[in-house]
Symmetry: C2
Subunit: 187 residues, 2 copies
DNA sequence: CAGGACATGTAACGCGTTACATGATTTG
DNA sequence: CAAATCATGTAACGCGTTACATGTCCTG
């Protein structure tokens, strides 16, 4: 399905970028929902160039270092638009290794399960706090009444969703922990 | 990391299964958080047998049809336990193609974005309703006061998490849709 | 007796990660 | 001047999906 192709086209639709710049985006907010390593990005850039969806200009950074600045072509824009506006089914499976362990909870002792869930809760809370801070920063940059028109709207959507995802996970973990503990008490 | 290995060991820790049985589990509740096709399962079963983590007996179904019933060995149980009780970091990225599109919302017209989000909301609501029904059924089978001791506790955890995941997605989509529509009104 | 479910396998291909490999630039 | 960051590439390997391939059993 080549989703990385569309991730690259989408990034380039906002402005020119080098391959290295793209890896940076995948390490920032966008990385909550999509990412790729540079070893996957560089070959994909070559492929997209051959296909005519993007093009590049070599730029000299400093005195020697060569950098390829990519931009999207009209063909690329058409391709991106087609993907963006296509309605797709919700995936049946979104893989989550922790939930796989949860499914096998009967293979653990209560104390082991409690430890596992408590650890996960602590880590998720930390991540939620981190995302909350990022969102506060964004709100200050973009102003409080963020709207469709704002250049930060995409960031805003991604951050609010990521934060709610973690918060939802946390409240579920808390409920699960109580059930595990009450089962343990009655032994 | 071979997570499929542990998925198989976990399933077998509850009782003997054929490869075909495992694919059925991946199509049921467990499939919300992990799945694999039979083309991946059968080679993995061969590998796990060679490694001594599982073993099988050939059973005749009907008069001719051969079926391999797998069970977990003591080595396999140790291996499973080690994985279950290992604390792991929360993954940085959980891929979500729809959220990638959301990040690129500025490359869409408001009406296009509205259509996309409305479609996603309808599909997520449908999935949430389906999961809610499954959960009601489970509650009737298991009784209302489900606890750690219940043989259905793993199912219960997975279903409640999946349902809350969809509900959370829906409420975020509704908020996003309002922002998109209000931006459109002011154009 | 036909269609769907049960049952098991292999092959080809693409996606994704880790590791290998190199070099320039900036900042403290 | 050392360390971190900027910058680009390839190779090997494993994971996952689609397609190819075959045959039995049960239900209406």
């Amino acid at each position: 399905m080549r989703v990385l192709k569309y991730a690259i086209l989408g990034l380039l639709d906002k402005g020119s970028l080098s391959g290295y710049d793209m890896t940076s985006h995948f390490k920032a907010e966008l990385g909550q929902f999509w990412s790729a390593k540079h070893s996957q990005i560089y070959p994909e850039l070559k492929k997209l160039t051959n296909e005519g969806f993007i093009e590049f200009k070599t730029v000299i950074q400093g005195s020697k270092l060569e950098k390829k600045m990519y931009s999207i072509t009209d063909d690329g824009k058409r391709e991106l638009h087609e993907w963006l506006t296509a309605y797709k089914p919700v995936p049946d499976t979104v893989k989550d290794e922790f939930m796989l362990k949860a499914y096998f909870i009967s293979s653990m002792k209560p104390a082991e399960a409690e430890g596992l869930f408590a650890d996960q809760l602590a880590k998720r809370k930390e991540k939620a706090a981190f995302l909350k801070e990022r969102l506060e920063t964004l709100k200050q940059e973009a102003g409080p009444g963020i709207s469709f028109r704002s250049p930060h709207f995409g960031h805003y959507l991604v951050l609010t969703r990521a934060l709610e995802r973690e918060n939802g996970y946390c409240s579920w973990l808390e409920k699960a922990l109580e059930l595990i503990k009450s089962g343990q008490a009655g032994s």
